[in-house]
């Protein structure tokens, strides 16, 4: 008897799957999930369209002159017309941002590793890292441009100061939150300091580091833009921030908007790229990157 029912069981479940009897609750849940999947993209788009339409109405109805608030259509047209110029500026800003982020990663991770290797180094240096972080960059930047001759190096320095702290503090936190039983295990098997760092601390810190990196990406862009504002004069080879300043002097408001749009888009792209990186590195094992079925 037992054998027969066991044999029957799989085919009967299969049959049930074919009929796809879905109870009321399950049906509603699936519907909600589907709506949410579409809504995640659709809703922001609807809001965007509504805002642009509203913006357009305000400008047209009130007959606001374009040197005060340009029509969205005009902004789009300017973006297209000035694309070559804006693109050049974007590349300059992007270069500073990416370089600063790179140096922030090297500096932040390097310093964090140093901190975990020596408590004394951490004790001596950490307060100054905090001070550097809490001092507004806008107040340090003018000084930097007095002492640093090379414009690019100055810009890089400013962006780096803003971006490196989240990498440092998150990585330090991650390196220190190793499971203590795993640490004991490594000690029992006679792991060297280097092995412990490589095989235990760095992998444990990876999710924390990636969280810090995502914040740092946005901050590097902010740092680069702020520094450019302070650095001022640019001429050839100046970035988006300077383009905005210059357009402001000339009351070319549509171009200001177009440049602003590009900066915002750049920030979004940086965030998406870093999120993708994070997903690729973590999706196999870390809870934060694992999609739950139910």
């Amino acid at each position: 008897m037992a054998q027969i029912s066991e044999k029957l069981l799989p085919s009967s479940t299969r049959a049930r799957q074919h009929e796809t009897i879905v109870d009321e609750d399950e049906y509603r849940r699936q519907r909600r999930a589907k709506l949410e999947r579409i809504g995640k993209w659709l809703m922001p788009l609807v809001v965007l369209v509504l805002m642009i339409w509203f913006w357009n109405r305000i400008v047209t109805v009130n007959e606001i002159p374009h040197y005060i608030l340009p029509d969205p259509v005009l902004v789009a047209a300017t973006l297209a017309a000035d694309l070559a110029l804006l693109w050049q500026a974007l590349l300059v800003t992007l270069k500073i941002t990416v370089l600063a982020l790179l140096v922030a990663v090297i500096g932040g991770v390097g310093l964090a590793v140093l901190f975990t290797q020596s408590r004394f180094v951490e004790m001596s240096l950490f307060p100054y890292a905090v001070i550097l972080q809490v001092t507004p960059i806008i107040s340090i930047a003018p000084l930097i441009f007095i002492y640093v001759d090379n414009r690019t190096v100055g810009l890089l320095l400013c962006a780096w100061i803003v971006a490196f702290f989240p990498v440092l503090s998150n990585t330090t936190l991650g390196l220190n939150s190793v499971d203590h039983n795993l640490r004991d295990l490594f000690r029992i098997y006679g792991a060297s300091r280097w092995q412990q760092l490589l095989h235990l601390q760095l992998p444990s810190a990876l999710p924390y580091f990636l969280g810090g990196l995502r914040i740092a990406g946005g901050l590097a862009l902010i740092g680069a833009v702020v520094a450019e504002y302070v650095a001022g004069t640019g001429g050839i080879g100046s970035g988006l921030a300077f383009t905005i300043l210059e357009a402001g002097y000339r009351l070319n408001i549509p171009r200001m908007f177009a440049a602003l749009l590009l900066i915002a888009a750049t920030g979004v792209v940086i965030f998406l790229v870093l999120s993708l990186l994070s997903h690729l590195l973590l999706h196999k094992w870390h809870e934060s990157a694992v999609k739950r079925e139910v």
């Binding site: 000690r187 029992i188 098997y189 095989h199 196999k284 094992w285």
Partner: protein, 259 residues
């Protein structure tokens, strides 16, 4: 797997008057003496805070005793200890095979060289088909099995287990108890096993050190003179019930004596 014969009963290690005081006033362990012979399955049984984990950590050389010492037969005790904690303690970023590889990896043995041994240990715990899975894809009991495979992979002279099955449901725990006994017979290893459960300790061990707290010490050693192999029928035998009664009684007396 093990050179030694489990029945020869030579002395493997001896704790001699071991005491541990944390800070200046927390006396976690007082004057503990315990002989462990090859092939023994010794349980440390006692209430929370009686120094069971402290004793294991001293044997594993993770902390040093304040008084007394642990003497090992032979000289080389490097790599002679395998450990299983209450949590599986796996590296979530590494596959099952890589987790089991860890002890060898840390002593510089490549995956290619270690692969047969890893596969063998995974077979012993019944997980040979899961070597490429990640820990998060496994159930609690399976993770524990990986942890045991990792402890076996170096052919340790003794395996230390600190309440390994305490977090599992009873059905899984019984199954793993039974599998652990089978494994012990096949591999012929020596086990020191920490537990809160009278039933678990009687089922598994040939000796039980009943411990009491404040300060932590061994109150009494109870021998379970029931040969191996044991199977599930032992659980329902009258001998088993008698031993459980004896150990529970000892535990009660110990707690009474210490308060």
């Amino acid at each position: 797997m093990q050179d030694s014969d489990q029945s020869n009963g030579d002395l493997l290690l001896a704790m001699q008057g071991v005491g541990k005081t944390f800070g200046t006033d927390v006396e976690a362990l007082r004057d503990m003496s315990l002989d462990v012979h090859f092939g023994d399955f010794v349980s440390l049984l006692g209430p929370s805070g009686c120094g069971k984990s402290t004793a294991l950590r001293i044997i594993a050389n993770l902390i040093s005793p304040t008084r007394g010492r642990v003497v090992w037969s032979g000289d080389n005790r490097q790599g002679s200890v395998g450990v299983v904690f209450q949590e599986p303690t796996l590296m979530p970023w590494a596959s099952v095979a890589k987790n089991v590889w860890l002890p060898h990896r840390l002593s510089g043995i490549s995956m290619r060289q270690a692969r047969p041994k890893i596969q063998q240990c995974l077979e012993i715990v019944g997980l040979e088909d899961f070597s490429d899975s990640y820990p998060r894809e496994l159930s609690g009991g399976m993770k524990m099995r990986v942890s045991i495979a990792r402890a076996l992979v170096t052919n340790p002279r003794v395996i230390l287990m600190d309440e390994p099955f305490a977090a599992l449901d009873e059905i899984t725990r019984f199954k793993l108890n039974y599998d652990l006994l089978k494994l012990k017979e096949n591999v012929g290893c020596t086990v020191i096993f920490v537990t809160h459960s009278v039933f678990e300790s009687v089922f598994l061990s040939n000796r039980i050190a009943v411990m009491v707290a404040r300060p932590g010490r061994v109150f009494e050693e109870v021998a379970v003179d029931e040969g191996y192999p044991r199977d599930e029928s032992f659980r329902t035998s009258s001998n088993y019930a008698a031993y459980c009664r004896k150990v529970s009684e000892s535990l009660r007396q110990g707690i009474e004596a210490s308060t």
